[in-house]
């Protein structure tokens, strides 16, 4: 082993540790998005104009793909990977939500609901009103004149905006009808996107629920009316299950064509290898130097795209990076399986973000470790294991921004921080916990909800455990095991 390999290894590690922007699309530059984007054929179906609902759990890539839709350069590249998907003509994309200057915000919405009650039909009107305000510049002159009173109130005053909308009668719909007709003549599509809907209510469950129901109701009603003016609603899986489903018939109209942003093991490894390969020519060369069945394509926009027939095709490369096992000899499992298994949540969903993060963090740790390892290995298994704790902390921290009441759950469990719990025990501990944004569930239903979110896992023996992705971040540890005699 020569000093040359050590230097090369450190350089590769340095590139690896910065490759994924910590896996977050929200903060990624266009170049990073392009390099990081892996075109999963089923996900690309969301480009079909008839697809309105896109459902996926946290970290499944919703935000990334919603950004992709608004990047014309990326869209053309994607067409090469989704030849069977019906793509829109000359599409224009507008972000309707999350909040921008033109959109309502929580206090305004809260005030509206206080005055008008939690009526999804009224929320539908609110959504429509703000949609028209967003699209003002796309409406014809006649529409802009007719709807002038709608554009006057400032966005924060939801009640005023709604009152103006209601007073206009059928004019708003007529304006959008004309817009759709214009788009049809021009043979173009206009899409509005709605993402990060969990920020609707700032943790207020009722607000989120009625807001989502109103939005779903809007597009269930008008999707068939307008053929060239369409929406894309990105909804988190648990929100879809809990809030949107109560939308009844409205939802069924949209659900039939929905896209589920799930990731197969093959797609996950392809995504990871694409990220690594496109980070630098040196990393690309390193990956391709190993023996594997992977075909490496070159795309003008997406860069190097690995094609895997099966997820096991990634194994030789992962073993080249880390070695075959996570421990000494046969211990602790095969690396290429361990990686996916340990970034699963409690319902066995695996996400791209933690998979990328675990490699980045391990690379960062190993870059700073002076100890040598044999060529061609880059990473130590122990670094991967330790990275998991950091990822868990990040994951929980993220989840707390969406579900602030989770902190109260964590605090309640601190007194007995060892999993697994019996169901009776954990329900008892969560009884009567208070938080202003606490979900309106009994403690039993709350446990079920946390299992649905993947924060906990129900074992075959009925006890409640926590997956590694959340274990450390929630301050929990695993009980049991045989003690070594001192």
């Amino acid at each position: 082993m020569s000093g040359t390999w050590d230097d090369r290894r450190r350089e590769l590690l340095s590139q690896l540790k910065g490759m994924g922007n910590s896996g977050r699309a929200e903060n990624a530059s266009e170049d990073q998005l392009t390099r990081g984007f892996y075109p999963v054929p089923e996900h690309l179906r969301l480009l079909d104009p008839d697809v309105v609902l896109i459902v996926g759990p946290r970290g499944s890539g919703k935000t990334q793909i919603s950004k992709v839709l608004t990047m014309p350069s990326l869209l053309t590249a994607v067409q090469r990977f989704a030849p069977n998907v019906r793509l829109p003509n000359a599409a224009e994309w507008r972000e309707a939500f999350p909040a921008q200057r033109h959109m309502f915000e929580v206090s305004g919405l809260t005030s509206f609901i206080a005055k008008n009650g939690r009526d999804p039909n009224k929320l539908r009107e609110v959504w429509l009103a703000y949609l028209l305000r967003l699209l003002k510049d796309r409406l014809d002159a006649e529409s802009q004149r007719e709807l002038a009173s709608l554009f006057e109130p400032e966005a924060a005053y939801v009640n005023r905006v709604h009152e103006a909308f209601v007073s206009l009668g059928a004019a708003p719909i007529a304006a959008l009808d004309r817009l759709d007709a214009t788009l049809e003549r021009e043979n173009r599509h206009l899409f509005v996107t709605y993402d990060e809907l969990d920020t609707l209510g700032s943790g207020d469950w009722d607000l989120i629920q009625v807001g989502i129901q109103g939005l779903v109701s809007l597009w269930a009603t008008y999707t068939r009316r307008w053929r060239h003016f369409r929406a894309k609603l990105f909804i988190r899986t648990d929100m879809y299950d809990r809030h949107a489903r109560t939308g009844g018939a409205d939802l069924y109209k949209l659900a039939a064509s929905r896209v589920e942003l799930s990731w197969s093991p093959r797609d996950l490894y392809a995504m990871l290898l694409k990220r690594i390969a496109n980070e630098s020519p040196e990393l690309e060369h390193y990956l391709r130097a190993g023996k594997s069945n992977i075909q490496w394509d070159q795309d003008d926009v997406l860069g190097i795209v690995p094609r895997l027939k099966r997820w096991e095709d990634a194994r030789p490369i992962i073993e080249r990076l880390v070695g075959p096992y996570m421990g000494t000899n046969q211990k602790k499992g095969l690396v290429y399986r361990w990686l996916l298994d340990h970034v699963r949540d409690g319902v066995s969903r695996v996400y791209p973000r933690p998979l990328v993060q675990i490699i980045e963090l391990a690379a960062g740790a190993d870059a700073g470790n002076p100890e040598r390892i044999d060529r061609p290995r880059l990473l130590r298994p122990s670094s991967l294991r330790r990275a998991l704790d950091r990822i868990s902390e990040d994951y929980v921290r993220d989840l707390l921004t969406e579900l602030p009441w989770l902190q109260s759950v964590i605090d309640k469990l601190k007194a007995a921080a060892l999993v697994p719990y019996t169901e009776k025990d954990i329900i008892g501990r969560l009884d009567n916990f208070e938080h202003k944004n606490k979900p309106p569930y009994s403690s039993k239903d709350l446990v079920d909800y946390l299992i649905e979110l993947g924060v906990f896992r129900r074992r075959s023996d009925g006890r409640i455990d926590a997956p590694d992705l959340f274990l450390h971040g929630m301050g929990l540890r695993r009980k049991g095991g045989v003690s070594r005699r001192k």
Binding site: P316, E319, R320, G323, P324, Y325, M326, G327, T328, N329, Q330, K331, K332, G333, L334, R337, W338, D341, H342, R344, P381, S382, R385, R386, R459, S460, D461, G462, P467, D468, R477, R478, K479, G480, G481, V482, S483, R484, R485
Partner: protein
């Protein structure tokens, strides 16, 4: 009429009383000896105020009490040394570190020997030694072993199969030289009797099973010819030899197999239950143990003993666990099967947490800990095999060879092979 005190009750009661006594006594250690007949005696090092022990112990032990409480510094030098040496091989009590427990056995001594290591490194010196074991019979253990042998042979490798189920031989006949059941004239039992003799011809003890081995080779050492002399020969085999002893029959058998037959794999079909040969084979001499069980309680009771032996016993002694793969056998079809798989998985996770995985106190590469459970390769994650009536009633192995290289058998075969990935290849 005075009630009868059982041996278990006497032993437990005596242990508890001495634990309490030691807790109140400083600078003293104790050795509780249970002899071949179950009689209990106490040796105190160096000496101690026995207080009420002479009254308490006979009362709780009943007929099992020997009547002896020995103070070490009152013993003659030879006797004192014998007991001091005995402390080295005794087992430390789990609750009281100053109490050692020495059990003398008439049989199945291999179950009580300390953990041992395989005779060579599987990856460096090869080949891997794999034991197939089930606590109860009739679960398809030999069939599973045969399936792995066939898979590796079809991959072009040489496999040696050794039928160590001496009381109830099977796999030698299953993998006979032809469809008529032809086998080597001599087998394991003969080797164990004869192995110290000069000019022994190792080729006398095995045959080839070519009809299913494709490009590879399956070499089979049967238990021996099941004729009128078999029981007589079996009675001459010492199955109590310490498995780690290099001059033991088992060790010699493995060594000669490796040197003379040069296989890529050595597969051992183990006797069921808590038998002497099973004690040897489950001592740690193998690189991997494939354990078969079912969802039934009786099956789990036996498996727990074995899992503790391969795991917890070794962890407590500061040694890494012996490697194992768990297989759930005889899974019924349909909904009952789904229930059985879930029930087995639940039981398995709990048993392994209690008896196999080390606690998470340190992040050692050497041990499986409770923090390693969340991977498909974790030892407690069982691989199910559906009940297949064809496999319960076939005439010849060649008729079902294709079944044994597909489906769950292929998955298990891959899991076994994945335990021996050469770092050089990756």
């Amino acid at each position: 009429m005075a009630s009868f005190i059982h041996f278990d009750e006497a032993h437990l009661a005596a242990t508890n009383i001495i634990r309490e006594w030691l807790a109140d006594t400083a600078d003293t250690k104790a050795l509780l000896v249970t002899d071949l007949f179950g009689k209990i005696r106490l040796v105190i090092f160096p000496r101690g105020n026995v207080a009420s022990l002479p009254t308490q112990l006979p009362k709780v032990c009943g007929p099992w009490w020997s009547g002896e409480i020995l103070q070490a510094d009152e013993l003659d030098d030879v006797t004192r040394k014998i007991f001091a040496d005995a402390c080295q091989v005794a087992r430390a009590d789990e609750e009281q570190q100053r109490l050692q427990l020495l059990e003398r056995h008439r049989s199945r001594t291999a179950w009580f020997a300390g953990p041992v290591n395989p005779p060579w490194s599987a990856l460096n010196d090869g080949p891997p030694i794999i034991v197939f074991y089930s606590f109860k019979g009739g679960l398809g253990r030999s069939t599973l072993l045969a399936s792995f042998a066939i898979q590796r042979a079809r991959a072009g490798e040489r496999v040696c199969v050794i039928d160590m189920d001496l009381d109830s031989p099977g796999v030698g006949r299953l993998l006979s030289a032809d469809r008529d059941g032809l086998m080597a004239q001599w087998g394991v039992v003969d080797f164990l009797i004869e192995h110290r003799m000069p000019n022994l011809q190792f080729d006398d003890y095995w045959h080839r099973c070519d009809r299913i081995s494709a490009e590879g080779e399956i070499r089979v050492m049967p238990s021996g010819q099941l004729d009128v002399r078999f029981a007589d020969k079996l009675g001459r085999v010492d199955l109590e030899e310490p498995p780690s002893a290099r001059e033991s029959g088992l060790w010699c058998l493995l060594e000669r197999t490796r040197i003379e037959l040069k296989p890529n794999w050595i597969l051992l079909d183990a006797r069921t239950g808590i038998s002497e040969p099973a004690g040897q084979l489950l001592s740690g001499i193998a690189h991997l143990h494939v354990l078969l069980g079912t969802v039934q309680q009786q099956s789990w009771q036996g498996l727990e003993l074995v899992i503790d032996r391969l795991g917890g016993d070794r962890v407590r002694a500061g040694k890494p666990q012996a490697e194992l793969i768990l297989v759930q056998a005889m899974v019924p079809a349909g909904e009952p099967g789904k229930w059985a798989i879930e029930a087995f998985a639940g039981a398995s996770e709990t048993v392994f947490e209690n008896l196999y995985y080390a606690d998470s106190e340190d992040d050692s590469d050497q041990f499986w800990t409770v923090d390693d459970k969340q991977t498909q390769d974790a030892p407690h994650v069982a691989l199910p095999i559906d009940y297949d009536s064809r496999l319960a009633s076939f005439t010849d192995i060649a008729d079902v060879a294709d079944t044994l290289t597909a489906g769950p058998y292929a998955e298990i075969g891959e899991r076994i092979a994945n335990r021996f990935v050469d770092e050089e290849d990756s």
